[in-house]
Subunit: 227 residues, 2 copies
Amino acid sequence: MENTTQIAIHFYEDMTALDAVGPYQVLVLLPGAEVKLVAAKVGPVRTDTGLYLVADSTFTHVPSPDIILIPGGLCTKHVIEDKHTLDWIKAADKTSTWTTSVCTGALILGAAGLLKGLAATTHWNALSNLAQYDATPVSNRVVHKGKIITGGGVSAGIDTALYLAALVAGEEVAKTIQLSIQYDPEPPFNSGSPATASTATLVSARESLSKRIDKLNCGNKKEKDNQ
Amino acid sequence: MENTTQIAIHFYEDMTALDAVGPYQVLVLLPGAEVKLVAAKVGPVRTDTGLYLVADSTFTHVPSPDIILIPGGLCTKHVIEDKHTLDWIKAADKTSTWTTSVCTGALILGAAGLLKGLAATTHWNALSNLAQYDATPVSNRVVHKGKIITGGGVSAGIDTALYLAALVAGEEVAKTIQLSIQYDPEPPFNSGSPATASTATLVSARESLSKRIDKLNCGNKKEKDNQ
């Protein structure tokens, strides 16, 4: 009989859809995976570009997952200030095998006090924010310290999840998942990180992110319907 | 004033979540993008691994989008046999600027009669199925013929969408989107296509896909709640 691996992916308002769905699509294919999409309340959760993803579990349903994954989002302030969410992450981390984040999800792990004294990564535009949680910002794609794994921005979540899949189930399983989802990327441009993008693209991406954050009115949100 | 580009992404039961969300995350960031998540009925749609994504429009709401994108899924038979869906695709294609697919979404475009005499691509495991729609299977990542663009399996959707973003809004905009989502992939393994995967991995991926398709009982589904 297959062992079950319970994987909790945290859904919250204004997370980034691909931050959650990229790693989800890899981890759900692990043999024995039991994926729980965990939010304050069961039901549709609005992502930062408008698409709704549906949470199927509340924090109380999933107290001790084997794997915790916190996706990033344009607005994380309301999560970072939400005691209910941070308490769940802290408690779940006590018994988890792996505690992980993608993109600005690292700031939420940081706010839960889990990155103290550790090297960690996040979206390039938020790297400097890690220091306030006593973490050392590193611009690698995937940073693995003890049982904490942090991944870079948005689509880096797929790489992070494959790395994690190999740790959990071995390289051969991870490779099979990679082939199943045909993850054989060939971006048409070489513009995916500040190290390769032109200065004009970097300026333009910063402006675009900043406008989108303003539009979402991030300072004035709260985690809703906490019980 | 920005021009609006209306983008219709078709949601259907047992589509693959990342097939839809990968391109969505790119296209929604196009300046002036108005993304419609189109299904037979508004509301949550179950993907082939259990996650629900929420459709916000019906076919009748979106008769003439500028861009049509059909994601793939493990089960497409019920869509391919659904006159209502195919009629919408055929009609929408008459006025679209771009008609596109990711993964096995190409089979749906094929069933709508839009790939006749064209080169096209799809998930590696479904390539040979394109011939029944008089298309010529090509194992490229992205195949562009006239206004029809087909992309490879699952995560190839991100590449396809960036390619399309550059056609619609220019390379600089596409590069800015790529940097915003930090699409700078470095898969930990070189196992994302049959050309690079080992024979053992290929056998294992085929078995895994076949088991998942059996489990979904694909032959016995219908597009639901067509109006």
